[in-house]
């Protein structure tokens, strides 16, 4: 069964067509990256899957039900570019937030929070405040929170976009381990070609004005992926493939000159 089924989804913001005719099916345990230049609607698409934005037309099915129902059932966890941690809560309490809202018992909550902080390697920081942590650590708390209630689906909107390259590469490897361990399906929005290729089982290349899918690229790099993966010739071939797909998508739009952002 597929976890996400998007059919003929379009989204209008006033006069602007943010998304047009999107069809996409995401299977169980897939790691799908949405990549494209700014304004291609990849974040909008992610929010439509999460029912944070309603599509103008088309349907979205998540876990076999409507996106609205899936949100109400808390079927997905979400990680934003900004960690969105609440300063008035400690690290442990931030991770426990969705569990509190799902009315878990205190004992179950504590046990789960402990395991999640172990998973993101933040043991010992339970009682810290979010602002006492570095950006990378904050984002790990955010990931722990999103995974704490075992959602079948994890939506990630440029989660490592604000981090430096070194931290980002390290968190990429951590995220793959978490993906392995948790068995969830991940939809991941990114600007970075190498990040998309390194993480994904499939890369969805999008183009702007109007936002649409220009190519689906399966990534058959062996699992588990390690630092060595980044140096394999097949990795470079795939990166080149994605880069060319991005440029092709851009060149179709004669009104917009090819800019640096497509390569970024």
């Amino acid at each position: 069964m597929s976890v996400v089924e998007i059919s003929r989804v379009s989204k209008q913001f006033g006069q602007t067509t943010a998304l047009q005719g999107i069809d996409l099916e995401i299977g169980e345990r897939e790691f799908v990256s949405l990549i494209g230049p700014s304004g291609c609607g990849k974040s909008t698409l992610l929010r439509i899957i999460g029912d944070l934005i309603e599509p103008s037309s088309g349907t979205v099915v998540v876990n076999g039900k409507s996106a609205r129902q899936a949100r109400n059932d808390r079927d997905y966890g979400i990680v934003f570019q900004d960690p969105v941690l609440y300063d008035w809560r400690t690290v442990a309490k931030n991770v426990a937030l969705p569990l509190e809202m799902a009315r878990w018992s205190r004992q179950k909550r504590n046990e789960r929070v402990r395991r999640m902080l172990e998973l993101v390697e933040l043991q010992g920081f339970e009682n810290h405040r979010p602002w006492q942590l570095s950006g990378g650590m904050q984002q790990r708390v955010s990931i722990a929170r999103a995974l704490s209630f075992d959602p079948a689906l994890l939506l990630m909107d440029e989660p490592f976009g604000a981090l430096d390259e070194m931290t980002r590469e390290r968190l990429n490897i951590e995220l793959l381990k978490i993906w392995e361990a948790s068995g969830s399906t991940i939809v991941f929005v990114t600007h970075s070609i190498t990040e998309a290729v390194f993480l994904s089982t499939r890369v969805v290349v999008m183009s702007p004005r109007p936002g649409q899918i220009s190519e689906l690229i399966p990534v058959d790099l062996p699992q588990p992926r390690t630092a060595a993966t980044r140096e394999a010739p097949s990795f470079f071939e795939l990166v080149t493939h994605v880069r060319e797909a991005l440029h092709l998508g851009h060149d179709l739009d004669r009104a917009a000159p090819v800019t640096q952002e497509a390569k970024a």
Partner: protein, 276 residues
Amino acid sequence: MSTDVPVAVQPVPRGGLGRMVGRRVVDWLPALVVFVGLVALWQGLIVWLHVQQFLLPKPTSIATTFWTDKSELWHAGWYTFQEALGGFALGSGFAILVALVLARWRPLATALLPYAVAANAIPIIAFAPITNQWFGGGLTKSSKIAIAAVLCFFPVLVNTLRGLTSVRPQDLELMRSYAAGNVEIFRRVRIPTALPFIFAGLKVATVLAMIGAVVGEYFGGALNAIGVLILSRSRVFQFNEAWAGVLVVCLFGLALYIAVALIERLALRWVPSTSE
């Protein structure tokens, strides 16, 4: 910054009230020096320039009167402080409730807030003689409580509403992803976000409450109220007594302010700027 070794960027704040007060004393040392210097200057100028007592008494004579009349002054101050405290609690409490309602039903706020802001510009003190008549002829505590409450209401309302509505959009988006209802969003996001704003309003209100009570008493109040005492003593040229009364008002007002500020420190230890 590297996160290779998980090291906290900043230490966990610790230390209880005692340590907090200790740190405060050191912080306030410069201010204390200025205070002592100003009082000495005041005393010196009066002695050197032979300023008449009805213009400005010497700090030492105010202090002497303060000491000899301390029982009477203390009781009068306490009486007025109760009025101020009552007005503070009533006005602030009601303001917070109204702010919650207005934040929940935003069109209501759009309709009413302009009037609240306009009403805030009215010098409410001007109504003191009238409210004195409304609430039992001016000798009662309730008339002063009413003035203090009205004075406290607006700053707390405006600040609370501002706080409740200045939630970051991404904080709300996260709550939406959990399918959170309105009550839950208020409880878990809006109210915690608003707390620093609410305390800012409350601190302004403490001072206003004391002013409201004392000025209300100037237009008639119980004989054992500090406002009445200040008024009657200055009418019979007992300026040392009048000034000592003002000093008592200051001390009580300050006490209320400090009490609220301390509660704020304890309640908002999670705010980065208050924990440093």
